[in-house]
């Protein structure tokens, strides 16, 4: 995956990433369930920090997996 030029979350027009919105958050995890580094997603530092906390909360609530085991 090539680094996009601008932050994907800014482009979506979302100012605050919500931990309950697992559809948006699932775009920023790898196929193993890891948090995607901003190096790959091109996300700005502010949104990367928000996303990190949001994903961890979503994992606690079983909205997102901690790990995805490939079949």
């Amino acid at each position: 995956m090539r680094r996009s030029k601008s932050c994907p979350v800014c482009e979506m027009g979302i100012h605050w990433l919500d931990y309950k919105d697992e559809k948006t958050l699932s775009r920023f995890i790898t196929d193993r369930g890891k948090i995607l580094p901003s190096r790959l997603s091109g996300m700005c530092a502010r949104h990367q920090r928000q996303m990190c906390i949001a994903i961890k909360r979503a994992r606690h609530l079983a909205l997102l997996p901690f790990i995805k085991v490939s079949a």
Partner: protein, 121 residues
């Protein structure tokens, strides 16, 4: 001074909705204070959802999201009663930051480095 909190409950999916409502009433009663006689601002039932991973060997859970207004000293007792409730398999309490944050700032054409401080422009 009252604060706004957001609480997400995951109930055992085998419980009836009446049991869920009864449990919610019981816990929310602990949040009542003189300043906040009506602690529940908004209550939304998501219903039964599949969990991303099994919790206590259960594959599904009944999700409820509550927007609450209460005073901070009420919280420890509230959380204690949630933890003791066997029908709640997972919960999360967060301070509701309002989320009505200002719209994203105007993007500059060369805005691909957000780590740069704004004051060196």
């Amino acid at each position: 001074m009252s604060r706004r909190y957001e609480v997400v409950y995951i109930f055992d999916a085998s419980r009836e909705e009446a049991q869920v409502n009864e449990a919610l009433d019981r816990h929310h009663k602990l949040l009542k204070t003189d300043a906040t006689p009506e602690p529940v601002v908004n209550l939304s039932h998501w219903g039964v959802r599949t969990l991303a991973y099994p919790i206590r060997r259960k594959e599904t859970g009944y999700y409820v999201v509550a927007d609450l207004s209460t005073e901070p000293p009420q919280l420890p007792e509230f959380e204690r009663s949630i933890k003791l409730d066997e029908s709640i398999i997972r919960h999360l309490v967060v301070v509701n930051e309002g989320r009505v944050s200002p719209p994203p700032r105007e993007r500059r054409d060369d805005d691909d480095d957000d780590d740069m401080r704004d004051d060196d422009e």
